[in-house]
């Protein structure tokens, strides 16, 4: 059972150390159900599914490393992680915001449908797979550092941003960048080789409209994560977009 360390008009602090994820998440849901809008979790280490399936706009602050599937299927709250996160952040997330002040693992934002994920550091493999958007529901992932292979695989909608801060010897993204992309846009700052791109993707210069969107996002990102954005200019980014909606139309013989 998570011990309540503090409860005040400023929110609740729960001690999560040694508490199994089941109990922890139950308590979080209970508090939010009772109207609590601000919960802090201390001593988190490896508990899964925090924020999973939650709706409404509460703010959950996590001190420690949350376990896999942080904010999976989440639909409204804001989660702030003051450490690194693991795999599966924002899995099929619909709405809300997740801020990670550290790096995140693999499979961030899989099938994300809305909301925002800001990671100040690096992200792993298979980030932003099959993100989708519809009208105003546009999911966004911004990573301050570098990404591994398969960034934006199968992307169908939404916005991915890769800033490439930090170790400039490393390539900003891995291979198979945007492979299978058929919608959405990926903004990348830093050097990309033709060889890294998926077959469906082309590099374009950003339009004025895109520059404006990007600018706003970068500002929000900088302020939320505290990352040093002084060297980052909107002009440094290129836009990766699919050049066909039906890249696989020719594959079949009837």
């Amino acid at each position: 059972m998570a011990k309540t360390i503090k409860q005040s008009s400023n929110g609740t602090v729960l001690e999560a150390k040694g508490v199994y994820y089941r109990q922890l998440n139950e308590q979080i849901r209970e508090r939010i159900g009772q109207g609590e809008k601000d919960i802090t979790l201390d001593g988190v280490n490896g508990q899964r599914y925090i924020g999973g399936g939650l709706t409404d706009g509460a703010v959950i602050t996590i001190n420690g490393v949350p376990g896999n599937d942080l904010g999976a299927f989440m639909n409204g709250p804001t989660i702030i992680v003051n450490d690194n996160a693991q795999d599966g952040v924002a899995n099929t997330m619909n709405a809300g915001k997740i801020i990670v002040k550290g790096h995140a693992g693999d499979v961030v934002g899989y099938a994300m449908r809305g909301g925002k994920v800001f990671v100040s550091g690096d992200v792993g493999y298979r980030v932003g797979i099959h993100m989708k958007s519809f009208k105003e529901q546009v999911p966004v992932i911004v990573a301050g550092g570098h990404a591994g292979d398969f960034f934006g695989e199968y992307m169908a909608g939404g916005i991915l941003v890769l800033i490439g801060l930090g170790n400039s010897d490393k390539p900003v993204a891995g291979d198979y960048l945007g492979t299978g992309m058929h919608g959405g846009v990926i903004f990348v700052r830093g050097k990309i080789d033709e060889d890294q791109l998926g077959k469906e993707v082309r590099v374009f210069q950003t339009t004025d409209e895109e520059k404006a969107t990007l600018s706003t996002l970068l500002e929000e990102f900088g302020s939320d994560t505290g990352a040093d954005m002084s060297a980052v200019k909107v002009e440094d980014f290129v836009a990766l977009k699919p050049f066909s909606h039906r890249p696989y139309g020719n594959l079949y013989v009837y």
Binding site: Y20, R22, N45, G46, N84, Q86, G124, Y125, D149
Partner: protein
């Protein structure tokens, strides 16, 4: 608080969670002693990656007073298998000490076989007659025991190291074998979620041959190909689990074929042809030749493995990183695990933390004597 209390609570709440296996490892590169409680503690965080049908550990440097003798951990279904095995052992080896493995009865660990350990070395005359090196002799002996003596198998056979494994959650297995009472410079741990093979003690990880111990998360889709390749060199795959081939591949490539560790890793997680084609001439010729010669040693399918051996610890992912692996350092210690939280549980403030790239090994090396 005893380990049992904390975990029994988890068990009551635990429901079936579909996830893969979990692994964790640590090495003190300066050879300092690390208690087994550290690896057990790390594994507790990975509890949900397993389903209680297998758990295990391997520790290196745990038998310092017998460090030059082969330490064989053997499980027997019954007394007759034990008698037959001991007879074979005494024919082939000079056994200095044979005793029961120290264990503690745990209600959650059931169907316990007879568990013994023997310290010894090959009989000089048998070794000379065979014309083999001592290591090859031991490999042949272990293969023989595992295939010929009924209801028996050797689950570890290295020097100054030992594997402890059973059907159960990792932390329970650790408690059962009293792993916290040992100290070593290198530890690996594993919790299993088997679907492909029955939950039997032999199928738990780590898999071992000589002092190679492998824990593995994933499934080897090239198993049939790898197995047939290894059989050509006298390794028999008896343990009904695909991970077995990885232990033998490390032994073959590094001990027999003398490939450096990084190169052996690049055989098992070979670079893509498109990347080999882009290399400069000398490395290109090397990697092309390696891939052509060792095509049946390519390990396909998702995997993250940790391999312990006498001189270090290696973590390796498949080349498109389909399984998670995280590494961290703190002073002279290297930690590698499936999840960062497993590392942070025993090392709250590491100096560095990073995620290795697919196909790029993380290598920890034991410096000096240990």
């Amino acid at each position: 608080m005893a380990f049992g209390d904390q975990y029994s609570k988890w068990r009551v709440d635990q429901e079936h969670v579909a996830s893969a296996c979990g692994l964790s490892g640590v090495i003190s590169q300066d050879g300092h002693r690390i208690g087994g409680d550290v690896i057990i503690e790390s594994m507790t965080v990975l509890h949900d990656r397993g389903n209680g049908l297998g758990g295990g550990f391997a520790g290196y440097g745990i038998y310092p007073e017998m460090k030059d003798l082969y330490a064989m951990h053997i499980m027997f279904e019954d007394a007759s298998g034990k008698a037959a095995c001991e007879e074979l052992l005494s024919e082939e080896m000079e056994i200095t000490l044979g005793e029961e493995l120290p264990t503690k009865p745990i209600p959650r660990i059931t169907d316990v076989p007879l568990l013994w350990r023997y310290f010894g070395q090959p009989r000089k005359e048998m070794l000379e007659a065979s014309g083999m090196t001592a290591d090859d002799f031991m490999v042949a002996l272990v293969m023989r025991i595992n295939t010929v003596v009924p209801g028996t198998f050797v689950f570890s056979s290295g020097k100054n190291m030992g594997v402890f494994k059973a059907v159960g959650f990792a932390e329970d297995v650790g408690e059962f074998f009293r792993v916290s009472e040992y100290e070593g410079h290198t530890w690996i741990g594993h919790g299993r979620f088997p679907t492909n093979t029955p939950g039997w003690w032999g199928g738990a990880h780590p898999f071992n041959i000589l002092d190679w111990a492998v824990v593995h998360n994933g499934e080897i889709s090239s198993y049939g190909t790898n197995k047939r390749y290894l059989e050509m060199f006298g390794y028999t795959c008896t343990l009904l689990t695909d991970t077995e081939v990885m232990a033998y591949l490390f032994d073959l490539l590094i001990r027999k074929h003398e490939l450096p560790m990084e190169v052996a890793c690049k055989v098992m997680a070979a670079p893509f042809w498109k990347d080999i084609d882009k290399m400069k001439e000398v490395p290109r010729d090397l990697y092309r030749s390696l891939r052509m010669t060792y095509s049946s040693a390519l390990v396909n399918g998702p995997f993250a493995v940790l391999v312990g051996h006498q001189r270090g610890l290696v973590g390796l992912n498949d080349r498109i990183k389909l399984r998670p692996l995280v590494a961290a350092t703190k002073d002279d210690r290297l930690y590698v695990s499936s999840e960062e939280s497993a590392i942070r549980q025993v090392c709250p403030k590491p100096d560095t933390v990073w995620a290795p790239r697919g196909g790029e090994p993380v290598i920890g090396v034991l410096r000096g004597d240990a």
